[in-house]
């Protein structure tokens, strides 16, 4: 009984979401703590005395936040499926989280396998597909890959927008307009910053690519990767994109992650990233920003995909409960 009085006193002094410890001396007291938490809407964080040591158990005031409510249903693990179609690229951006470049190994997933992966994802409950690379427009079959994806799920294709001519333009024109969006990278309102990271002349060609895509009737998102965004620079970028006709909701700002080719940037651990299941030719990864990081490797077995999706969801649920608080969301969209 005393342990319940201890719990009452401790909980009364805690703010919602804060945690406190009480000491227990037996398994039956642990069971009592568990039942008290269930009854009163509080959360037992540690599930055995050994978890906290010395008979102390940790209790969170209130329930764990619902991840669907906190993150949004579209950001729950498994809602998005990222596919690295390939790793080679016509650019060699100095912050590329996948270290893509013209010299990078191609490591293509392949048309047939992508079709099977998207089918498996749809069957599991994936809501949308993101195709990225590398530069997907370097693949001659990219229009077919997109069509196969869009037939099953809403799809976004990430591109630098620089290859919309010749075969690239014909591939673009063959892509569906419904259920499909292009996400084109543009880091600044003027060429200097963008070209400084991505190569001379790349800003002008990306802006031209945005114009081509809009002219062809596609929904275009623009994503800027900015290490230390200043308010004035962001305002200038938003004004510029407004002028191009990009909706504010389709103007995405994301930080540089210290991954791949980036020597500096946001550091993260698997525990700090809400997972977005990512498949490359090398395996299934926790998140697209860490698709070359062994620490983020979930499985080297790509197919069947369902078990890996379930495993990531299970690991996230454990992580969410153990954290006792909302995981920090790394915004990579």
């Amino acid at each position: 009984m005393v342990v319940i009085l201890d719990l009452m006193r401790m909980a009364g002094a805690l703010a919602e979401g804060a945690t406190g410890a009480v000491t227990i001396s037996s398994a039956s007291e642990l069971d009592l703590v568990r039942r008290w938490c269930e009854r009163t809407g509080n959360t037992l964080i540690t599930t055995s005395p050994a978890d906290a040591g010395l008979g102390a158990v940790l209790v969170r005031r209130g329930r764990l936040p619902d991840p669907a409510a906190t993150l949004g249903p579209d950001r729950l693990p498994g809602a998005r499926l990222w596919l690295y179609t390939n790793f080679h690229c016509n650019l060699a951006c100095d912050y590329c989280c996948a270290a893509s470049s013209p010299r990078a190994e191609r490591r293509e997933l392949g048309v047939e396998r992508i079709g099977r992966l998207v089918r498996a994802g749809a069957d599991w409950g994936v809501h949308e597909v993101y195709l990225t690379g590398g530069e997907p427009f370097l693949l001659p079959e990219i229009a077919r890959i997109v069509a196969d994806c869009v037939r099953l799920l809403p799809t976004t294709l990430l591109t630098n927008g620089m290859l919309f001519r010749g075969p690239g333009l014909r591939a673009l024109q063959a892509m569906p307009r419904e259920g499909f969006a292009l996400q084109i990278s543009l880091d600044s309102a003027t060429p200097d910053v963008h070209d400084g990271h991505r190569g001379a002349g790349s800003w002008a060609r990306a802006v031209a690519g945005i114009g081509v895509a809009l002219g062809e009737g596609f929904r275009v998102r623009v994503a800027a990767t900015i290490a230390s965004p200043h308010a004035a620079d962001l305002a200038a970028l938003h004004d510029f994109l407004d002028g191009l006709g990009i909706a504010r909701a389709d103007q995405v700002i994301r930080p540089v992650a210290q991954q791949g080719a980036a020597d500096t940037g946001v550091q993260f651990s698997r525990e700090s990233l809400v997972p977005e299941v990512t498949v490359t030719a090398d395996g299934v990864y926790w998140h697209p920003v860490a698709a070359t990081d062994e620490r983020a490797l979930v499985s080297t077995q790509i197919e069947p995909l369902g078990p890996a999706l379930s495993e990531v969801y299970r690991l996230f649920a454990e992580q969410w409960a153990a954290a006792g608080a909302a995981a920090r969301l790394f915004p990579c969209a």
């Binding site: 009984m1 009085l5 009452m8 006193r9 009364g12 002094a13 703010a15 919602e16 008290w36 009854r39």
Partner: protein, 270 residues
């Protein structure tokens, strides 16, 4: 935006801040925007209400009664929690004590909570007396652990329970919310049992003075009553504050406390 109403509340738990920030946010887009100010005790809050420093006070039942008594009836009851309409005091003893009903408590060692707690000090004696128990023959031990907060922290009630478990008292009088909080006899049936429970009475009440015009408080009350348990953002606040919905005042539930305050000579100035 119309002029904000200023609501007073007592900071008896760290959750008072998220509760009132949440309520303020809820009201921000309403016809009755508001702000809040926190007090360390109900005496200060009632004083501020009388001085016009706050427009509405979120009072305990004792603070409401005192506002009525201090202002000669100029207090106005505005709204309460659904859970405030069915409050009660529970008398608990060690399991196997053999006690049952008010008569069995007569002459026993009774542990009470803070002297300004209606549920754990004032009303227990009132209802025992109404049930025919000679309260002057009780051996009363008081635990004035949170004076000023009218028993809101629950600490004094837990201290009273400790006394029973330690064999230093036969019975403890606690609020029904504390009884529910420790499991209501289900989690540790071998330790404590309820031996008697008073009739329901009312607890907290939003209180204003008659100087606050209806056209100012009524939109606020209507907005308050519109909070919806089914909406997650509202539900979080309602759960923290311990209710399912806000309701209009039920004044009959305060008659016992008015009578108890008079009979026991409880000062109206705390």
């Amino acid at each position: 935006m119309s002029e904000q109403l200023l609501i007073g509340a007592v900071a008896y738990t760290p959750n008072v801040v998220p509760i009132w920030e949440g309520i303020r946010e809820y009201f921000a887009e309403s016809p009755a925007p508001m702000d809040f100010v926190l007090f360390s005790n109900y005496g200060r809050q009632v004083e501020a209400l009388r001085a016009g420093q706050v427009d509405i006070a979120w009072n305990t039942n004792l603070a409401y009664v005192r506002t009525v008594l201090q202002t000669g009836g100029r207090a106005r009851a505005l709204a309460m929690r659904d859970t405030d309409t069915r409050f009660a005091t529970v008398f608990v003893a060690r399991t196997g004590s053999g006690l049952s009903g008010p008569d069995s408590i007569a002459g026993r060692r009774l542990a009470l909570g803070s002297a300004d707690s209606a549920q754990a000090a004032i009303l227990p004696l009132y209802y025992l007396a109404r049930a025919g128990v000679d309260v002057t023959r009780l051996e009363v031990t008081r635990f004035d652990s949170d004076i000023g907060k009218h028993g809101d922290t629950g600490r004094s009630e837990l201290d009273a329970i400790d006394a029973v478990l330690a064999g230093e008292a036969d019975v403890a009088a606690i609020g029904i919310t504390t009884w529910d909080g420790i499991g209501g006899g289900e989690l540790m049936p071998e330790a404590l049992e309820a031996v008697w429970q008073t009739e329901p009475y009312c607890h907290c009440m939003f209180t204003a003075l008659d100087t606050l015009p209806a056209e100012r408080h009524e939109p606020w009350v209507s907005t308050l009553l519109a909070m919806d348990w089914g909406r997650p953002a509202h539900r979080r606040i309602l759960e923290l504050e311990g209710l399912h919905r806000w309701v209009r005042p039920e004044l009959d539930g305060y008659a016992g406390l008015f009578a108890a305050v008079e009979e026991q000579g409880v000062t109206k100035w705390w």
